[in-house]
């Protein structure tokens, strides 16, 4: 594909305009899920399991229904019983039966917070009364929370029809291990034999929540004629449409989903929880039903990503050539199969050009909420282990950690463990930029350490629709099907304005409902600027071709004799005729006389999303008395292909890095002995706050992706991959000890410092 212009020729791409939806978002006018209103709406709420694992003996809703003002009560009996069927509409594979059972338990509750019934009432207080009046009888079952305990013989079994996939012959006894999966290239045994130095370590991580600040929210109406309207905040209104249609057994065309503004998702809003229930309640009550989760519900019943155990073994020769890399990974899936074990396995060593790799993984269910995608799903977990081990390898070899990585760096032509050969990638450029950055050579203070780590993410393309419509006054509407989660409206408009040669301010961004634009896959996988941007770019290019034809018609010359330059049609040369340039607005004014409205809608299934690589440098200071770790300096270098709006690219990198810092130092689900979550609130589940952090310096490296007209690579997910190891390696530098468990919270750090001080004889 040919690039549109050299970087120096671009007028709009690479600048930093104010986003089109900005004013609404700084004045409080933007409408998020909980702000949306449908006339006559009533309040919907969910009754949730107080047990980690229990059989539902009976549910008596009669007392709730008898309360005046309670309009509907539903249980799983009111929803279709969905057969097992794998689908791919969200950000990962999804089994519709599991999705249905996750929205509403049928025979068993599998985690604390699992929905068992829902009500719709005239007021909030009446809905609460109705929930309290529902009588659910449970037979409490033994539960299991920890991943290795769930794999052990004799563990409580969550699903008696779940047999481990990936084993031959097919097992005959049910297991919590949903899947065993392995990727191999070369011969690791031979590789380890050739090694002079071997590092073999075991790492663990705790489940962490995406912790978007906006709780899930929707309002839904089921009309008497079967037509449905849903207004919801999500990462994909087409995803909501698909899932609701499937889970409720209705036609896709009968559902219109309006995307409310979304208050953060990070992968956690790529599936449904409330929407099918709101529609079912609406059908039963005859009223639109609004449902908004509490923060506690968000923690107990949505997200998080897996906690895991990762055992890693890396061998290298004395001069730093890695001869073999091996890992065994056990990922929690939560109550239903579907942890991001595959990407975890694929990403751990994808930064390196290795001949011998063997990665083995297990997808394991336990009595926790079903995991949802979280920013580069799976990769941060495996990379935390791999990149800490690589750092210890560098230490053992006496090599600079960047030099060791450079010596083994993946480049164009390197084959990955999952079979793909890297195309044009920027890992070496990222390493060079990190090493040249002043941060890498700056002096450190007392009790401080410096850590370095890198990360990889595939990025995806996929199905997207974009459209460009020229209005009669020469302004342009730029339409797309991708919910804007962090500035993508600006990027879409910038790409369209660049192609059309007009001012950014002449374009308006529109994200219509599911009935008004072509299908578009979720905002996830770092795909929007790449794939939806490609659709918008192609639509703008089609409009330019049309504008040239219109000019040719006005001038009565051949379309081939017209060029598009700086937003206007000009004769291609002296032979074409001596016409004055026709600006876009002049052509738009005459649209009716030259063939009618000017516009183009393009749907693509974009392939060739270029993978992204990042390298993070972290300086940490540890208070030896308290174990408190302070990040004192942080630099994140990333190959972004080409930054359309550099501020929002930097923002992705800064935000991802800080989510990773939270994962590294603070965040975890804490369970008590009953299998109930003890910290379901922002006071006790502590995400980073402003005073925890320094400025995060984002360094943009641009190695254009040859498959995108502007060279775009996805940027949103890579930055959460390196931070945990960067922080862990910094702590090792500061304290001269290796932490193996996440989070590296003050109590854990303090205990590790104390243990290190303890004389061996005292053990």
């Amino acid at each position: 594909m040919t690039f549109i212009g050299n970087k120096s020729d671009l007028r709009v791409v690479g600048t930093r305009p104010v986003r089109p939806d900005g004013v609404d978002k700084v004045t409080g006018r933007a409408v998020y899920g909980a702000d949306a209103v449908l006339a006559g709406q009533i309040v919907g709420k969910v009754l949730r399991s107080p047990h980690a694992h229990a059989r539902i003996v009976s549910i008596d809703t009669s007392k709730a229904m008898a309360i005046k003002g309670v309009r509907a009560v539903i249980t799983a009996a009111d929803l279709p019983n969905i057969p097992s069927e794998e689908a791919f509409v969200g950000e990962g594979p999804m089994n519709f039966r599991d999705l249905s059972l996750n929205c509403m338990a049928r025979t068993k509750v599998l985690y604390e917070g699992h929905a068992v019934a829902a009500v719709a009432a005239m007021t909030d207080a009446l809905a609460d009364q109705a929930l309290a009046a529902i009588d659910v009888k449970y037979e409490v079952l033994p539960h299991v929370i920890d991943v290795e305990e769930a794999m052990a013989p004799g563990a409580p079994i969550l699903h008696d029809d779940l047999f481990t996939a990936g084993i031959t012959p097919k097992p005959t006894t049910a297991s919590n291990v949903a899947k065993k999966v392995r990727f191999t290239i070369g011969d690791v045994e031979a590789g380890f034999k050739a090694a002079d130095v071997i590092i073999e370590q075991r790492y663990t991580t705790a489940p962490v929540h995406q912790a978007y600040i906006e709780p899930h929210a929707c309002v839904a109406a089921w009309s008497a004629d079967g037509q449905c309207t849903v207004i919801a905040s999500s990462q994909g209104h087409f995803m909501i449409r698909s899932y609701c249609a499937k889970l409720l057994g209705i036609d896709v065309a009968a559902i219109r989903v309006v995307n409310a503004e979304i208050g953060g998702g990070f992968g956690g809003k790529t599936l449904v929880y409330l929407e099918p229930l709101a529609l079912a309640l609406s059908k039963k009550s005859g009223r639109p039903v609004k449902m908004v989760m509490t923060r506690e519900e968000v923690f107990r019943a949505t997200g998080p990503t897996s906690g895991a155990v990762v055992e890693v073994k890396i061998g290298a020769t004395k001069d730093g050539k890695i001869t073999a890399a091996q890992a065994v990974m056990k990922y929690q899936a939560g109550a239903f199969p579907g942890s991001p074990i595959n990407p975890g396995l694929m990403c751990a060593f994808a930064m390196y050009d290795l001949a011998n790799v063997d990665v083995l993984g297990y997808d394991v269910v336990s009595n926790r909420p079903k995991v949802a995608a979280y920013r580069a799903p799976g990769a941060p977990i495996s990379s935390w282990a791999a990149e800490c081990a690589i750092d210890d390898l560098a230490l053992k070899l006496g090599m600079d950690p960047i030099d060791l990585r450079m010596k083994n760096a993946a480049k164009q032509g390197s084959k990955t463990v999952y079979g793909v050969t890297h195309g044009v990638i920027g890992y070496e450029e990222v390493l060079q930029a990190a090493k040249a950055h002043p941060h890498w050579s700056a002096p450190l203070g007392k009790n401080q350490g410096r850590g370095f780590a890198t990360g990889f993410w595939f990025n995806i393309g996929g199905e997207s629709t974009g459209a460009v419509f020229v209005n009669e006054d020469g302004t342009v509407n730029v339409v797309s099907g991708s919910p804007d989660i962090g500035g993508s409206r600006a990027s879409m408009v910038m790409m369209a304005a660049e192609v059309l040669g007009i001012s950014y301010n002449k374009c308006q961004a529109v994200i219509p409902d599911t009935s008004s634009v072509g299908f578009t896959h979720v905002t996830g996988g770092s795909r929007v600027t790449y794939a939806t941007g490609m659709a918008v770019t192609q639509a703008a290019q089609a409009v330019v071709e049309d504008l040239k034809k219109r000019a040719a018609m006005i001038w009565d010359i051949s379309p081939e004799a017209v060029e598009w330059k700086d937003g206007q049609a000009v004769p291609a040369g002296a032979n074409a005729g001596g016409f004055d340039p026709l600006p876009l607005a002049a052509i738009a004014l005459k649209a009716a006389k030259t063939g009618g409205p000017i516009g183009s809608e393009i749907s693509v299934n974009a392939q060739g999303a270029g993978p992204g690589f990042g390298a993070h440098i972290c300086d940490i200071e540890i208070d030896p008395e308290t174990g408190h770790a302070t990040i004192v300096r942080y630099t994140a270098v990333q190959d972004v292909g080409r930054a359309i709006h550099p501020s929002y690219v930097e923002g992705q990198i800064q935000g991802g890095a800080v989510q990773g810092i939270g994962w590294a130092l603070n965040e975890e689900y804490v369970y008590n002995k009953k299998g109930l979550m003890d910290n379901a609130g922002f006071l006790d589940y502590r995400i980073p706050v402003a005073s925890d952090l320094p400025m995060i310096e984002a360094v943009l490296v641009e190695v254009p992706n040859t498959r995108h007209p502007f060279g775009v690579r996805g940027v949103g997910e890579v930055p959460i991959v390196p931070p945990m190891a960067a922080v862990g390696n910094a702590i090792r530098g500061a304290l001269d000890l290796r932490m193996f468990h996440l989070p590296m919270s003050p109590p854990r750090l303090r205990a590790a410092v104390d243990a290190a001080k303890m004389p061996k004889a005292a053990e």
Binding site: G487, G651, L683
Partner: protein, 158 residues
């Protein structure tokens, strides 16, 4: 339970409404007065998305009872701009790309207003500690802190 009549001032205008005794000010603002710019992220005073200024004090409106607001002057995100003219804080948040999803933004802007009202020239550390009660999960706070610094500089200059 009967509702209680509340007379108050919201964004400089007299406002009257009826509230349940247990209703939060946030719910009254959002559901009764249709001022949905203040957001509920937690309902427990931990995220700051519902920040408002009451008689010069920055508070989480989810932790204030609606009936307590009687006779007080409340400033919400809807009252920060002067008509069509954005407040410098709002303008600097836009120019610095200090928002991604935008959900926490109203709370941050209200909290910043309260900061700059009492401290027109805050250090980076003062900004970070003042805003520690406002959670943002998208930005890593870098561009928010810069926007606040820029807004403070502009307001001092004007």
């Amino acid at each position: 339970m009967s509702k209680i009549h509340v007379s108050t001032t919201v964004n400089g205008e007299a406002a009257e409404f009826l509230a349940e005794p247990q209703e939060s000010l946030l719910d009254a603002l959002r559901n009764t007065l249709n001022l949905t710019g203040s957001k509920e992220g937690c309902g427990s005073g931990d995220c700051g998305a519902c920040s408002v200024i009451i008689d010069g004090r920055l508070v989480c409106s989810c932790l204030v009872l609606a009936v307590e607001a009687g006779g007080m002057a409340i400033t919400t995100i809807e009252g920060i701009a002067e008509g069509e003219k954005l407040h410098p804080i709002q303008q600097k948040f836009l120019e610095n790309a200090a928002l991604q999803c935008g959900f926490c933004t109203p709370g941050f802007i209200v909290a910043t207003k309260a900061l700059l009202d009492v401290n027109p020239d805050p250090t980076e550390t003062e900004i970070r500690y003042w805003l520690a009660g406002n959670l943002c999960r998208c930005t890593g706070y870098d561009k928010i802190v810069r926007a606040v610094q820029d807004a403070a500089a502009e307001m001092r200059g004007s």
